[in-house]
C-alpha cells in the first residue's frame, strides 16, 4: 500500500455552499502531511471526510486501502479541533475509556506511560475540567495515538500550546512517523508546517491550490524574495523600484521582487535608504506563499500548483 489516503474527485456541499470542490489527494503511507488553508477553506471538512464522519457528495475516499465503510476504524486515531473530552471524567479514566473503545485491553500501563511522557502524571486523577487548555490538548493527543493507529488525523493539534508543550507534542508526532504511522494534521502555523511536514497541502475556497514538498512548492515560485534586516526599523521601503510587496516585521523585512527586477539595483536603493545589516536572496517562505494565495491582495492562480 503506497498511499494511506486517497481522495478522487471529491466534492462536499452544505446546502448551496460548496465546501470541497473536485479534490484529488494522495497521502503517502508513513508521511507527515500538513493541511494548511484559511479559516473556512475546507480543511476540517476534508479531514472529516477522510475520517468518514462526513460522506462526499461526489468522488471516492479510500483510507488505508478501504474505499467503503463507516467512521469507526480502530486503525485511525483522531484529535478534533479543541475539546473532545468528557469534562467530568478523570484524566486516566477518560484515556482508558478511549483506549478500550479502540479495542485495547489492559491499557492502563500504556496510559500512565503516555501521561509520564507528556508530563501529566500528577494530573492523572484530576477531572478533565481542571486542566488548562494546553494540558487538555495533550490529553486529547494521547487519546488519539494511544492505540498506535496506522493513520493519525490531528485537527489543529498545536493551537493554544506554549513553546515547551508545542515541542513535546511535535516530538510525539515525529515519534509516530518513526514508528511507521501516517500523520495528517491541519495547522495555521506555517513555521510548524515548514519544519515538520514531508508534504504540504493547501486548500483555498474548497479547491486544492498547493500540494507537494516544501522545496518543490518553493521552487514553483523561484528565488523572488529578499530578506533584509535594517539597523533602523522605521525605514520605509515601499517606493523602491522592482519591489512588488513589502512584508514589514520591524527591523526584519521580506521584499517580494517584481518580475525582471534587478537585485543589485534594489540593494543599492536599500543602502541609500538606511544601513543594511543583512541581505539575502531567498525562496519565499510558506507564510508568504500562503498570503500570496489567500491574502486580500491575492492575484494567484486558480489552478493548483502541485509538484
Amino acid at each position: 500500500m503506497s498511499n494511506a489516503v486517497e481522495l478522487t474527485h471529491v466534492t462536499k456541499r452544505f446546502g448551496e455552499h460548496v465546501a470541497v470542490n473536485q479534490l484529488d489527494l494522495a497521502v503517502p503511507a508513513g508521511a507527515v502531511y500538513g493541511f494548511i488553508g484559511p479559516n473556512g477553506s475546507g480543511k476540517t471538512t476534508t479531514l472529516r471526510m477522510i475520517l468518514r464522519i462526513f460522506y462526499p457528495d461526489e468522488g471516492q475516499v479510500a483510507v488505508l486501502g478501504n474505499g467503503r465503510g463507516g467512521a469507526a476504524d480502530d486503525r485511525v486515531g483522531y484529535l478534533p479541533e479543541e475539546r473532545g473530552l468528557y469534562k467530568k471524567m478523570r484524566v486516566r479514566d477518560v484515556l482508558v475509556f478511549y483506549g478500550q473503545l479502540k479495542g485495547m485491553r489492559n491499557c492502563r500501563r500504556e496510559v500512565d506511560s503516555w501521561l509520564e511522557r507528556m508530563d501529566l502524571a500528577s494530573w492523572a486523577s484530576h477531572r478533565v475540567e481542571m486542566l488548562s487548555k494546553g494540558m487538555a490538548q495533550k490529553v486529547q493527543f494521547i487519546a488519539a495515538v494511544l492505540a498506535k493507529p496506522e493513520l493519525v488525523v490531528l485537527d489543529e493539534p498545536f493551537s493554544g500550546l506554549d513553546p515547551v508543550n508545542m515541542d513535546v507534542l511535535k516530538d510525539a508526532v515525529l515519534g509516530l512517523r518513526a514508528q511507521g504511522s501516517t500523520v495528517i494534521f491541519s495547522t495555521h502555523d506555517m513555521d510548524v508546517a515548514e519544519r515538520m511536514c514531508d508534504t504540504i497541502f493547501m486548500i483555498f475556497r474548497g479547491k486544492k491550490v498547493l500540494d507537494g514538498t516544501l522545496a518543490s512548492i518553493q521552487n514553483l515560485y523561484g528565488s523572488d524574495t529578499i530578506r533584509v534586516r535594517m539597523i533602523e526599523s522605521r525605514v520605509a521601503l515601499a517606493g523602491i523600484k522592482g519591489v512588488a510587496r513589502v512584508n514589514d516585521f520591524g527591523p526584519y523585512k521580506e521584499l517580494r521582487m517584481a518580475p525582471g527586477a534587478d537585485t543589485q539595483q534594489i540593494l543599492r536603493e536599500l543602502m541609500a535608504a538606511g544601513e543594511v545589516e543583512h541581505f539575502e536572496l531567498a525562496r519565499p517562505s510558506l507564510h508568504d506563499i500562503f498570503v500570496r494565495i489567500a491574502g486580500p491582495e491575492s492575484q494567484e492562480m486558480e489552478e493548483p500548483r502541485c509538484a
Binding site: A71, A72, Y98, L101
Partner: protein
C-alpha cells in the same frame, strides 16, 4: 459487543457515580410524594381560634337545641382525650332576634363577618320543621367568606340536620331511636379468598381503605420517577458529547448504533439501580409500618419488564432529540410531545383505580406509550387482570420500543453531527422515516 459494553459501563458510571444522582435519589420521592405526605404531617396544625357564629332562626324553634349541641361539642369534642391538647376550635353562637330574615339583616350580618366580629351566620327558615314536598328539601343557609372546605360549616350542617330530622320524626310519631338503630348497617370492602401453598383457604383481607388507592398510585408514580431519572440524563449526556466534540471521537471508534445501544444499556442499568434502591427502601418502609401484606409482590416481575421497556423507549426518544439539537433550550419544544406521552397516564389514574377491569381501563392500558404505567396500575389494584393482557402489553411494547430505538438511532446518526439551527418536529420525523 465489547465496544457497546465499554460505552454502557461509562454511561452507567456517569449516571450513578455523581453527587447529583444521589441528591436526586433523595429528593425525587419528596417531590413525588410530598403532596400526599405533607398534608398528613400537617394535619394537627389546625386553627383553634374560637369561631363566632350568629344564628338567625326564623322558626324560633331550633336555637336552644343548637346551643345545647354547641355546648356538648365545646366540652367533649375539642380536645385530645389523652393529651388534653385542643385539636379543633370551639364555637360561640349568638341569637339573632328575628321573625323573618330580611336582605338588610343578611347584609348587616355579612358586614359583621367582614369586620371580623363573626366567622359565619346561619339562616334557618320559618318552615324548617315542616315536611317538605319530595324532591324539594328545606334549605338552611350558612354564610361565611369561604364555605367550601369549612369544618365549621360541615359541623353545623350535621348538627342542624340531626336536630331537624329528630323533630320531624317526633312530629310524625316515630321514635328517632328506632330510626337510628335501623340505620346500623355497614357494607365492608374485602379482597378475594385465596388458597395458600399448603392448600388452606385463607380468609379475605379487609379493605385497607386509603392504602388501596395510594399504593397503585405510588407504583405508577414510582415508574414515572424512574423514567424521569433515566431519560433526562440521556438527553444531557448526548448534548454534552455533541457540544464537546466527544461525539466525533466516539464515531471514530464505534458505529452510531453501537454508541446508542451502549448508552441505552448503561441507562437501563442505571434505571435498574434506581428501581432496586427504591423497591428495597419501599419494602423496608412497608415492613416498618407492618403493611407488607399490601405490597403486590406478584406484579414485581411485570413491573421490572415494563419499566425496562418504558425506560428504553423514552430514553431513546430523549437521546434522539438530544442529538438533533445543540442546546438544552432548543430541546424543550421537541420534548413537549414526549412529556405529554409520559404524563398522560396521570390524568386517568383515578378512573382506572375505580374500575381497573372496565372497558376504558383495559383499552387505554393497551395503547403503547401508556402500557407500562397503566398496566402496572391496574395490576396493583386487582389480581383479576387476565394474563393475556399484560402479556399482550409486553409484546406491543417490545415492538413499539424496537421501532422507537430504530427511529431514534436514525435521528441520532444524522443529528449528532448536525450543526446550526435545530430541526423542527417534521424534519425529525423525516429523518426517522428516511433511514
Amino acid at each position: 459487543m465489547r465496544k457497546i459494553l465499554v460505552i454502557a459501563r461509562r454511561e452507567y458510571l456517569a449516571m450513578v457515580g455523581t453527587k447529583a444522582f444521589l441528591l436526586t435519589l433523595a429528593v425525587m420521592p419528596i417531590f413525588m410524594l410530598g403532596g400526599a405526605v405533607v398534608p398528613q404531617l400537617l394535619r394537627d396544625q389546625v386553627d383553634v381560634t374560637t369561631k363566632h357564629v350568629a344564628i338567625a332562626d326564623a322558626s324560633q324553634s331550633l336555637y336552644d337545641a343548637i346551643a345545647q349541641a354547641v355546648d356538648d361539642y365545646n366540652k367533649h369534642a375539642t380536645r385530645d382525650p389523652v393529651s388534653g391538647k385542643q385539636t379543633t376550635p370551639e364555637y360561640r353562637i349568638e341569637r339573632v332576634q328575628c321573625e323573618q330574615v330580611t336582605d338588610q339583616l343578611r347584609l348587616d350580618l355579612s358586614n359583621r363577618i367582614r369586620k371580623g366580629e363573626l366567622y359565619a351566620f346561619v339562616e334557618i327558615p320559618a318552615s324548617v320543621l315542616e315536611t317538605p314536598p319530595i324532591g324539594q328539601p328545606t334549605v338552611v343557609s350558612f354564610y361565611a367568606e369561604n364555605t367550601t372546605l369549612s369544618d365549621t360549616k360541615r359541623w353545623f350542617d350535621r348538627t342542624v340536620s340531626t336536630i331537624v330530622q329528630t323533630r320531624r320524626l317526633e312530629q310524625a310519631g316515630i321514635d328517632p331511636a328506632v330510626v337510628t338503630q335501623s340505620q346500623l348497617i355497614s357494607v365492608q370492602g374485602r379482597g378475594l379468598v385465596e388458597r395458600d401453598a399448603d392448600g388452606t383457604v385463607t380468609p379475605a383481607k379487609a379493605d385497607e381503605g386509603v392504602l388501596t388507592i395510594l399504593l397503585p398510585l405510588g407504583i405508577m408514580m414510582f415508574m414515572f420517577m424512574v423514567i424521569m431519572m433515566s431519560a433526562q440524563p440521556m438527553l444531557e449526556s448526548v448534548l454534552e458529547e455533541k457540544g464537546n466534540r466527544v461525539a466525533e471521537v466516539l464515531l471514530g471508534s464505534a458505529t452510531p448504533l453501537q454508541i446508542m445501544t451502549g448508552k441505552l444499556f448503561g441507562n437501563v442499568a442505571g434505571s435498574l439501580t434506581v428501581a432496586v434502591i427504591y423497591i428495597a427502601g419501599g419494602f423496608a418502609l412497608a415492613a416498618y409500618n407492618d403493611v407488607t401484606d399490601a405490597v403486590p409482590f406478584a406484579i414485581m416481575p411485570w413491573f421490572i419488564v415494563f419499566q425496562l421497556l418504558a425506560v428504553l423507549m423514552f430514553s431513546s426518544l430523549f437521546m434522539a432529540i438530544g442529538a438533533a439539537v445543540n442546546q438544552l433550550k432548543e430541546a424543550q419544544s421537541l420534548l413537549l410531545p414526549v412529556w405529554i406521552l409520559i404524563v398522560a397516564p396521570m390524568f386517568v389514574w383515578f378512573n382506572i383505580v375505580r374500575e381497573p377491569n372496565g372497558g376504558f381501563a383495559t383499552g387505554i392500558s393497551l395503547i403503547p406509550p401508556f402500557i407500562p404505567m397503566l398496566m402496572c396500575l391496574r395490576m396493583s389494584c386487582t389480581s383479576t387482570v387476565p394474563f393475556w393482557q399484560p402479556a399482550l402489553g409486553v409484546l406491543i411494547m417490545v415492538g413499539v420500543t424496537s421501532l422507537c430505538v430504530l427511529a431514534a438511532s436514525r435521528v441520532f446518526r444524522i443529528g449528532i453531527l448536525a450543526q446550526g439551527r435545530a430541526p423542527k418536529l417534521g424534519q425529525l420525523i423525516r429523518w426517522a422515516l428516511s433511514g
